[in-house]
Symmetry: C2
Subunit: 389 residues, 2 copies
């Protein structure tokens, strides 16, 4: 048993309580919150820091991490040309190295789990479990004529999901690159398989104006509108970006229960525009946050992403912290995202450095979103294991 | 003598060279850059990290640091009500504590000097020199009827400038709170004194739409326009914000040689709007960067400010790094801002953590702006003294 004491616990429980008290971890789960008893073998002194749920990065491509600062970010189209060229010469060795780098950065900056979209997710899964990360991995499906993958993407994805679906720290799922390289049939097949294997479908959607214009030319409908008419929007879908969702499409996303991932830094970096996150939250869409890959961010630090999303959209700190924790957990159907009895023990501790002072119960959530940065993460615990201390 | 070796040196010299080589410090100044000789007493191993000029924060109020996360940021007007209430009950002891906290945060996140605007700058000066910071401190002048200062602000400012103008690590100057609390006469007198004592004039200017509307009602002119007509714009002036500068006013700022401080995070946090930094740079205005105080940011980390300004304005990394180093040094008339023979040794070293990898000569400047955060600062040297290691 591990006992964390002397911290201010930002629980993210239903009442969003911030309490002074201990957190007791038994095996991979949280056993008690706020109690005073000390029946633990290991005691971690939080030293007046904040104890909080590990952050959940809902959209990234960890296999591209070594592209940090390397490609032209003037537009998504220019960016895709260069990254596709990179992918065509990619090797498992390079993906492994990138994944390892990403794991180190995430653990060090307080991200305890993430939803990835890429190929060779089996390689990524292995590297991540070696590092102790909790991974949600979507194998990217796209039409055969566009892919750099060996073999047929949808078969690769299915075989990955089959092989990894009973692993403890890895949850496999199906991905879709986007409507610009996925036919209606491809999306239909992918959805059918996702239903069969009970996984999420993770895709890029309505990221750029060009995507919208291209889709309108081809189908006379906007991407999200078209997804809705084809019954592709659902509780199962995790849609990254949605920068160009118009009010009608925001309505469709809301009614279908689709989860949206806001990637504010990447969208700004690639000049894609800025998603209307305020209206999405107003319409009760399950909004979550992602960094996107380091090629377009160039950081996997979710604290930075929380602050940028808050500032870009004028959001209250509590909404932003919810997006990075409990909302993400809801989309993933996983017992993470809050510090409550029975939840998996994915917990981080922030230090009490000058940049975090003063912190009180009143400003703790504000300080998490606006003052903290990855560098303030002192301790990272994933599934009850202390990974960074 | 101190020798920094094994680093990638981002010099910020006239040719913006990025070189592999040593940096030799003799006393308070840089003696040699790129040389191979080793005649030093102390050797600092940069361990493949980036060696770069310390960052210069061109607009902050360090005496308010303890207000982090404490006030309502819904608008500048609401914010000023609360902070003025705070100021009226403020004490030298509190200002001292806030200054100390700010010094710790700046040193730890790679800021080696800053331009402040507040009262009790004598207290701040003492606290900062104790910590080893290089300080540029502007005593805020405003009309007597608005001030919370004891005595007459302009007399306080003059006496502060007189008393501190020959200190090594402190450069005193005159400040102006803003046109909404400074009459034409107050600004005139302040300008005259600044000329006499050869200091900058540091002021808030055109921060909110309300400031512009209020000024138009009173003077039938916009603030910057009015400043121009009264010959208050000059090479001496450091104008913070300028969010509401229209194209004509951008022209006035450019022709007068006024330095502008972009405070993108604070402006977003207070819903003030976003300055047109791209056009300012296009018109060759000397653009610099500031965090503003922790009450409206809530961080003094200049790396975060660089990234946010770059993303908000679509700026190339080199322009942003210039704003935070050489442009600031030019405004302050100080021998800092670059790593060149003869310059004062204000130098920071970034570590080689996962978040910074890969770094090469080609992407070093991009990684400084988009990948690095204060937490990556390994070593801080100010005026040849190793303050953090």
């Amino acid at each position: 048993m591990i006992m964390i004491k002397n911290g201010l616990v930002v629980t993210q429980d239903k009442r969003r309580r911030v309490i002074e008290g201990n957190v007791l971890i038994d095996g991979d789960a949280i056993d008690e919150v706020g109690g005073a008893t000390d029946k633990s073998d290991i005691v971690i002194d939080a030293k007046n820091g904040i104890v909080m749920p590990g952050l959940i990065n809902m959209h990234t491509h960890v296999g591209m991490t070594e592209l940090r600062g390397m490609v032209d970010c003037s537009s998504l189209e220019r960016f895709l040309e260069q990254t596709t060229a990179f992918d065509s010469k990619n090797t498992e060795g390079k993906i492994r190295r990138s994944a390892r780098l990403a794991a180190e950065e995430m653990i060090s900056t307080g991200t305890t789990s993430f939803l990835d979209l890429y190929y060779s997710e089996d390689v990524i899964a292995d590297e991540m479990s070696r590092k102790g990360m909790r991974s949600f991995l979507s194998w990217a499906v796209l039409d055969k004529e566009y892919t750099t993958q060996k073999g047929e993407p949808i078969r690769n994805a299915e075989s990955f999901v089959k092989r990894y679906r009973n692993k403890k720290m890895t949850t496999p799922s199906f991905g879709l690159q986007g409507v610009y390289v996925c036919s209606k049939e491809t999306i239909e097949q992918t959805n059918r398989l996702a239903k069969q294997y009970e996984t999420v479908v993770h895709m890029h959607l309505s990221e750029t104006r060009k995507e919208v214009e291209g889709h309108k030319k081809k189908y006379s409908q906007r991407p999200i509108e078209w997804m809705g008419r084809n019954r592709f929007l659902s509780r199962r879908l995790v849609a990254a970006h949605c920068v160009w969702a118009n009010p009608k499409e925001i309505g469709l996303l809301a009614r279908s229960g689709t989860t949206v991932v806001n990637n504010s830094i990447s969208n700004a970096r690639l000049n894609s525009g800025s998603a209307n996150v305020r209206d999405m939250i107003k319409k009760r869409i399950n909004v979550t946050l992602g960094t996107d890959s380091t090629a377009s961010n160039d950081s996997l630090d979710m604290f930075q992403t929380m602050k940028f999303s808050a500032l870009m959209n004028g959001l209250p700190a509590q909404h932003v912290l919810d997006a990075a924790t409990v909302n993400a957990a809801r989309a993933l159907g996983s017992e993470i995202g809050s510090i409550e009895r029975g939840k998996k023990a994915d917990i981080i501790i922030l230090n009490d450095d000058a940049a975090m002072r003063p912190t009180t119960r009143d400003n703790a959530v504000s300080n998490i979103v606006f003052a903290a940065q990855g560098g303030n993460v002192d301790t990272t615990i994933i599934n009850g294991r202390v990974i960074k201390r």
